[in-house]
Symmetry: D2
Subunit: 283 residues, 4 copies
């Protein structure tokens, strides 16, 4: 049995749902999941559909038919994924290890359903963790002077391993516009505050100074503007006056791990679409 997932967005019109569901019904597909959303402000229609096909199924032909019969008419942005294809996820780290341990623990426990072709870092500190988990580790130092050549090296690795998307597990380096344009909505960052509060460096220090009673973490797609990309997932935890900055950092770690992994999973399951710098998160 083949399973495919369809993601669509287009200008909202009457009849899209009927047309699309008919298309798959006629091909003996069984719709096992449908979630749709209309952005009434901008008049945009979004849909995610899962289809099961019990008989022989030719995804190439279906894609061609869909483009010709439907997508063209409605001027759709769309993607049809086969579930068999396993995504390749590169992990970028710096010196912090907690998010890396969390991702690799989930990876080894079979929770993510991706391949991790390599871990890349601008420091050597976390190489032993990569070794313990038997994943290739590349050390690509980044300094003011080597920035450009570092990026070239990074892009070579990403291409060589046919990476689909990148997760920044507390990577702590600005991603260049070139890299972002090569991987649009495919670079996922975890920021340790409830954005838009405390964007930029040292959010726990700022949170401490302001005296907030909750701290947060935000998983978002990376865009050219720092910490301003489409938010995939957020969560918070309660703190009190008695927590020092060190306590916040420690408490925040669990939050970062949870929020990051939730965001990553939504991306892997193709449950995210981006429009107008915001995400649609399908159920």
């Amino acid at each position: 049995m083949a399973k495919v997932t369809l993601l669509i967005n287009c200008k909202d019109k009457s009849g899209i749902i009927a047309t699309v569901t008919n298309f798959f019904h006629e091909r003996n597909g069984n719709i096992v999941y449908i979630d749709q959303y209309v952005d009434t402000e901008n008049g945009i229609f979004f849909m995610r559909l899962e289809n099961e096909f019990s008989s022989e199924f030719d995804i190439v032909k279906v894609r061609a038919d869909f483009e010709k019969e439907i997508a063209k008419t409605y001027n759709m942005n769309w993607k049809l994924f086969s579930e068999e294809r396993v995504l390749k996820m590169a992990v970028f780290v710096s010196k912090y290890d907690h998010c890396l341990y969390d991702i690799l623990g989930r990876y080894k426990a079979g929770e993510l359903g991706v391949e991790i072709p390599f871990i890349l870092s601008n420091h050597k500190d976390l190489e032993p963790i990569a070794k313990a988990f038997e994943i290739p580790f590349y050390h690509v130092p980044v300094t003011k002077d080597t920035k450009v050549e570092a990026e070239v090296k990074q892009l070579e690795l990403l291409q060589e391993f046919e990476v689909d998307f990148i997760v920044l597990a507390r990577y702590m380096q600005i991603i260049s516009d070139k890299m972002i344009s090569e991987y649009p909505n495919n670079i996922i960052n975890i920021h340790h505050s409830f954005l838009p509060a405390f964007a930029g460096a040292k959010p726990y220090h700022s949170a401490y100074k302001r005296g907030v009673k909750i701290i947060g973490a935000t998983c978002h797609y990376v865009t050219a503007e720092l910490d301003a990309g489409p938010i995939i997932e957020q969560d918070i935890t309660r703190i009190s006056h008695s927590h020092s900055i060190k306590d916040l950092i420690l408490k925040g770690r669990d939050l970062e791990k949870i929020v990051f992994s939730r965001g990553i999973k939504l991306h892997i399951q193709r449950k995210t679409m981006v429009f107008n710098n915001k995400t649609i998160i399908f159920t």
Copy 2:
């Protein structure tokens, strides 16, 4: 513009979504919302659909057509609601006032979108609140000896005012099987524990005794078995060893109010379906 909401459940088969969406599309309906769920364990399909019709729309004819063309074929349980029809909600209370204040505050603030034809109680304590909010109040005492006649009186009132559903705002009385069968899945209770823990009387006392670190509240449909009906909504709040039973009761009040009102709203918006003593809650 007319808006209608369709609720369906039936044996799961391929093609239902396409068939139903076509039905409305052919009648110039615009599907503005669709949510569906398949209970794979039991092979049951559930769907909720919202349709907008810009032209003249004859709900009686559409109902007849839907029954003939679709519902019969698929052997569906289904309902088609017009949004114009405002539900009538009776409020049963006893002596606790916090849930009543909360409901009436929301009611007056225009948050619920229902009519409250009357408040009924087995005690007179809360009559002044009904008066302050200008809602008829009926005092129907319930004692061992008057149980039957009390119920007769209650049913008379419910019929006279054409009540659609009943909310038990800490009513503290067992609802008879007869009443339940007259209002199947239309009597909503708030229980002050995270069921199935601490069913029955004095859940806060039991929670205190067990030394739990969270207390909960559960909004559910009333069935013959006490506190065992389909759960609509639950939530919890953290407590500590330092909270006395009195503290739990006080903390629980906010929880009861929030969970109760969420459950009531889901019912009013027809976002609930019941199957196998569980609820499907549409988004």
Copy 3:
């Protein structure tokens, strides 16, 4: 039995706890609660103590003794409250009714333990609610031209009724510096965002635009800088892309009510101290 609550802050030194606890022990007081905190960054000690006295107890003499024997030596800021004294809380509102309904519901249910001498508004819209709850209502219109005289009127009322503190239940007007200086750390506001995100007007609109996945509410003391005062309490609720601004406003109402009432209760129970524009919240 008399119960008193002591609040202290002073420069941190060794021996304060022993000295203070001895002081009450010698006077046959029984310490039933103690919570302390040291701001190690600034070297400030904070403590809250509850004492029970079974015998005759002269609070005036105890205050004088405490000042002479302890407070002077340690150069303390301190207050000793008798539990018998009920605080007087003025409620300022504008046109939104949900926070007012919530406060008054709690008030009538005996949950707050304060007196509400009056409700004041710059509009007449909510007068009927004040009437229903039998609380005096004063309409003090505020326009550009009448600002000064409105404030004079407000201060007169506050003085006449010996108001201890003011709660701004969505009052929507800037509080003047004069008013703030008359009631330092005694004016409590509810802001409908998780500050410091979305300070200022229309936070739900900004939250919608940014595409956040959580919205919040913040209860804080009012200071000269808008929405920048010491935070007493915050909480959040999850939202999704599918929520319109209207949905956010509706969801936010429950949050505002809960967070506001928690903050107000902490203040009433004298569990808050302010230092360096942050609050210490005792347990």
Copy 4:
């Protein structure tokens, strides 16, 4: 600078706080933390105190003095810990790896402040993880016939490595009364439900069947009665009708990890006391 932590419980009497704080003050100790609680129902006083000593500090002498001067008089249960002493924590596992990965990740990241002398399991499945993290692994199979000798082996290992406490990271085996009596309130379990709901085997299956809207996890001390020991920490996560049992198991994993690690940390920091099968959790 030496730091010691004092834990006390005894019959509640007036003057304990003053007496104890004096004791340390006289020895030039600086109390940097105090938290106390009175169980008014049973008349029991509990306290946790942290003291810093800048000069030479003889913990043996202080213990003797404390016993003689105070503990005897008040008939106290008490312990005085030196912060320097690092606890030894044995980890028991079965086949589930997620809690083990989580604990070891935290351990390696320096978050726990314990030693892990060994990991013990009744299966060999997780041995590679122990190896990757360079921690000794002991395989002690448990069958009906080998139960007694397995326990002997376990106790030998625990003694040999001078283990202070044991964490059952989804160990899935009943702990014998003998083992429990050797490590009273020192065996920590994670149960995958919000106890007391769904005690025993397969709680996610039961939760699914009951149709709850929240699932939970509970970290508790192991006692003779299954899943009925003193609760250290609990938390929950929201679920919906659309979650299968498999989904619950997956969602529950994060919950188990978080709740378990929180409970373990509280134990390590000596912030827990047990009385009447309930925990006092100090702040």
